[in-house]
């Protein structure tokens, strides 16, 4: 009955199949095969990445929960903890941008409130192909609308993130969604199925045929009478999820349940297998009791459905009525579909027959782990070699063009479609270096950022991986926050290609080193492989979600200059580096060179000076120097304040002018400070061994940059503002 074609349809190798047979002790039936194929998929099992992910540091004294649960948890003191996680929804967002992105939001929210936390912030990292292609514009339009529709409705603010463009994402857009929730430390819940005899409750939406793995639908043994084609992308219902959120938090707050898990990827299969696997128990359920919205569904379909907005709860027996009462208050059913058992099997019955009986350990923990071969890609040598193009004549014109590059330009078109203020905690509006949320009733605030420069990773994966961590931390430092925890979404091509595996290995090495030096634990994350279409892989794209703490929210500052006459100070040093820069790409069409080097100890010291200076009230603005280099950073500092303020910078560096303006040398922050605080600021930097130099003064209506006394840029701030402001709406309004 089970032949090679069926195995191929289920993405299982013959070796994997033999392993299943030996673990189960017999040939699995079709439903059991479906269960293994899901749980042993790359997405659920991390079989290609697990060996490498183990290298990331996961320990820290404030870590309550590291990798392995629905989300990571970090103690922030005062009886509170933050729960956060990132997930990718890349493939569905390409097929159906609106629903793909919307259900990505829905899924990550469930991961957070499943743990008893109320979600308080969403951030997204979005990557699309260039906007001159109408298909890319349509994808971006749909993705943003999808995120907006789900997040806005459920009332969780989308407070930040990044939007990035490169041709490699044209047929592989990336949608990575990060969510953070707040929980009282003694009210955290886990995916446990403890207490033999405790009832298993199904809550939320009814189960339909949506999201069942497309490849399996063509099988002849089942579904002859069912529709052959079903969209593989689910449809989100944020209203239902809002009800589910409130009801779940209410039963958890009242301590009525034992454990809970959302039915996300792999639906009922994943929750009924993982919960008992973690608790050393088994689960027995009856599929006839599962609420269904379509007729004639087979056990295979019910177990594999990925219908959204569903949860599985294990309740104490005596509390079931009370739990059901609370769900009824929110117009939801909580249906008793089975119980926790002593045997360590997942047992599923349907129409009086046992249709599944497999050891949960085999399903969840015994998937083979692969150390796939890796090989240094041949392309590297070619792309790392950079022959600098001749210097452009008018560097002011170049700045106007770089600042209007969609990667750098204003993202208001995106952010104003998101409700970024609901819950009234948003202390910095989107567009700053990091998102900042106050914690009601406390002086402290939470900062968070999503970041990752994929071009650097393409040009040099190890350096790129380290910079991804360093730069995300630098974003936090610019708002005065110290990093406390990391989650990451690793988007790569096909891991069966040795070159991709090499990129993956190297990026993780770089990230690992940086996380160790910054002493920040990785509490979880997500790996998205197989981002290739028609043989073309995306750039290796690690997206780092880093959470930080700010001691005193009243000291919060933004990236924009505040006062005329303030000194402009460069923390760190300019260097003659142009490789991998946005300037080379935007002006010369080159994705070449070596990315900037990074000295992680120096980086940490620079950030420490910035954090301490903000905490002591010594600075009025701070902005990270990243894509677009010093010139773009200075221009943004002129634009991003409450009012536009110009500045004059006098630079003495000997570098090539375009490298000085647009090079992306790391470990630099542009700060403004009043005269009264200047000497203290410079003393602080000197004490930490960090170069700090007054390079100019804020004021006037122009951005003037001089090199060795000669103007290299002189532009009205308002002209820069317009170029920056209008670029994205104009690119998107082409018909």
């Amino acid at each position: 009955m089970i032949d090679p074609k069926l195995l191929a349809d289920h993405n299982l190798t013959l070796e994997e199949y033999k392993r299943i047979v030996s673990l189960v002790g017999r040939e699995p039936n079709i439903t059991e095969l479906g269960i293994f194929s899901l749980m042993w998929s790359e997405h659920c099992s991390y079989k290609s990445s697990r060996a490498f992910l183990k290298k990331l540091p996961t320990k820290g004294k404030h870590v309550i929960q590291g990798p392995g649960e629905n989300a990571g948890i970090i103690d922030i003191g005062g009886g509170l903890a933050v729960v956060f996680k990132i997930e990718s929804h890349n493939h569905p967002s390409f097929i159906e941008p609106f629903q793909g992105a919307a259900t990505g939001v829905g899924g990550i929210l469930r991961d957070i409130f499943t743990m008893g936390a109320r979600p308080i912030a969403l951030l997204d990292s979005l990557r699309f192909g260039p906007l001159d292609n109408p298909r890319n514009r349509a994808i971006m339009d749909g993705v943003v609308a999808g995120i907006s529709s789900y997040g806005n409705s459920i009332g969780v603010p989308t407070v930040g993130g990044e939007v990035y463009f490169d041709d490699c994402y044209s047929k592989n857009p990336l949608v990575n969604v990060f969510c953070l929730g707040l929980v009282e430390k003694d009210k955290i819940f886990y995916a446990k199925a403890e207490g033999v005899g405790n009832p298993v409750l199904y809550v939320g939406s009814k189960t339909g045929r949506d999201g069942i793995h497309g490849a399996t639908m063509a099988s002849a043994e089942f579904g002859k009478e069912t529709e052959q084609k079903r969209p593989n992308v689910q449809v989100g219902d944020p209203f239902k999820e809002k009800l589910l959120l409130e009801a779940c938090l209410e039963v958890m707050d009242k301590g009525l349940i034992v454990g809970i898990q959302d039915m996300g990827a792999a639906g009922l299969t994943c929750s009924t297998a993982e919960m008992p696997a973690k608790s050393g128990t088994g689960i027995s359920i009856n599929l006839d009791l599962v609420p269904q919205r379509e007729e004639g569904m087979t056990p295979y379909e019910i177990m594999l459905s990925e219908s959204q907005e569903r949860m599985l709860l294990v309740a104490k027996k005596e509390n079931v009525t009370e739990v059901q009462k609370i769900f009824a208050k929110w117009d939801l059913d909580a249906v008793d579909i089975g119980e926790v058992t002593a045997g360590r099997n997942l047992r599923v019955s349907f129409c009086g027959e046992t249709v599944v009986d497999v050891p949960v350990d085999a399903v969840v923990n015994l998937c083979p782990v692969y150390r796939r071969p890796s090989r240094k890609p041949a392309y590297l040598q070619a792309v790392q070699k950079l022959d600098l193009p001749p210097l452009a004549g008018d560097l002011g014109a170049a700045l106007l063009k770089v600042i209007a590059s969609p990667i750098i330009a204003d993202k208001e078109w995106v952010f104003r479609q998101y409700d970024h203020m609901v819950q009234t905690n948003t202390a910095l509006l989107p567009g700053a270096d990091a998102a900042v949320l106050r914690v009601k009733g406390q002086k402290r605030a939470l900062a968070m950022t999503l970041d990752g420069n994929a071009l650097y990773c393409y040009l040099d994966p190890r350096t790129g991986g380290a910079i991804a961590v360093a730069e995300a931390c630098r974003n936090l430092a610019c708002v005065g926050a110290r990093p406390i925890g990391v989650t990451n979404c690793l988007n790569f091509g096909n891991p069966e290609k040795p070159e991709i595996m090499w990129q993956f290995k190297k990026v993780i090495e770089g990230m690992t080193e940086a996380c160790r030096i910054f002493e920040i634990p990785v509490t979880g994350g997500n790996v998205s492989f197989y981002n290739d279409t028609e043989g073309l892989s995306i750039h290796p794209t690690p997206v780092l979600g880093i959470v930080g703490l700010i001691g005193d929210v009243d000291r919060l500052i933004g990236p924009g200059f505040k006062e005329e006459g303030d000194a402009v100070v460069l923390l760190g040093e300019n260097r003659d580096e142009l490789g991998g820069s946005e300037y080379l790409r935007a002006i010369h069409g080159l994705e070449k060179g070596r990315p900037p080097g990074i000295d992680l100890e120096r980086e940490k010291a620079v950030q420490e000076v910035c954090i301490q200076a903000i905490a002591s009230g010594l600075v009025r603005s701070a902005h990270d120097i990243s894509e677009g280099g010093l010139a773009v950073c200075a221009a943004e500092s002129c634009i991003l304040g409450r009012t536009e303020i110009g500045c004059v910078l006098d630079l003495e560096d000997k570098a090539r002018p375009d490298a000085l303006l647009f090079g992306e040398a790391q470990s630099r922050i542009l700060i403004s400070a009043s005269g009264t605080h200047l000497s203290k600021l410079l003393d602080l930097a000197a004490e930490k061994g960090v170069p700090a130099k007054v390079i100019g003064r804020a004021g006037g209506k122009e951005l003037v940059i001089r090199q060795s006394g000669r103007d290299v840029v002189r532009l009205p701030v308002h002209r820069l503002f317009l170029a920056w402001k209008n670029a994205l709406p104009e690119a998107l309004s082409v018909r």
Binding site: Y418, T424, V553
Partner: protein
């Protein structure tokens, strides 16, 4: 003064509004459950923002059938103060407590941003802490905030001073660009003839603390509380 904040399924500014009233203005504040028939003796009912019933139909169209709305209507008829914010404003329109309807924003996109409002009627119980022509900086966050009513209704509203807030630029001019959602006559907030029911699209509860960027919204709550 005792405030009651109504929770519909899908409300999501309920806690925000409660927080400002209770912690910011230190007023007795309770939640009112939409399925109840009890206003718990409040002096002012607030219908908060959100997506009641998901707003899958017309915004606010289902919430108006919630059991509690019967009491809210009677309360308004007795002269009780009712404030509808965003989705709450949409519910008031659906209830018929205020005239008109909401259409999709003119750019057909959700809009979350600060706007400037001009106070065109400071002589209401919701605005007595403001001055005529005062510019308030308060955020909006909605998909359907494009106010519509027929010309004769608009004339009537203007004649009776029922247009309380209008979208303007930062200098107070009612320009087309400032009217981001395309509302008729730039209407951002309306009051009924009797002066006890106010609906507004902008969110005063999001602009009631300096930390969040504006305290202008607080004036509306303070007006209600002022003896």
């Amino acid at each position: 003064m005792k405030f009651g904040v109504v929770i519909f399924p899908g409300s999501n500014c309920d806690y925000d509004t409660f927080f400002v009233l209770k912690n910011g203005l230190r007023q007795e504040t309770v939640f009112l459950w939409h399925k109840d028939h009890d206003l718990r003796g409040v002096d002012c009912v607030v219908l908060p923002g959100g997506f009641s019933y998901g707003d899958y139909l017309r915004s606010g169209a289902i919430a108006r059938f919630s059991p509690l709305m019967q009491e809210v209507r009677e309360f308004a008829d007795r002269g009780g103060s009712v404030l509808g914010i965003c989705n709450g404003f949409q519910v008031l329109l659906e209830l018929g407590l205020l005239p008109g309807a909401m259409l999709r924003n003119k750019n057909l996109k959700f809009l979350c941003q600060y706007v400037h409002l001009r106070v065109d009627n400071p002589e209401t119980r919701f605005t007595r802490r403001t001055r005529r022509g005062q510019i308030l900086r308060i955020p909006i966050a909605h998909f359907d905030g494009h106010y519509f009513s027929p010309p004769e209704t608009l004339r009537d509203l203007e004649e009776h001073g029922q247009v309380v807030f209008r979208y303007v630029d930062e200098k107070g001019k009612p320009t087309e660009a400032a009217n981001v959602n395309g509302s008729a006559a730039g209407i951002a907030g309306l009051i009924n003839r009797r002066g006890n029911v106010l609906g507004m699209m902008p969110h005063p509860e999001r602009a009631s603390e300096a930390l969040l960027g504006s305290e202008d919204g607080r004036l509306i709550f303070e007006s209600l509380v002022q003896p």
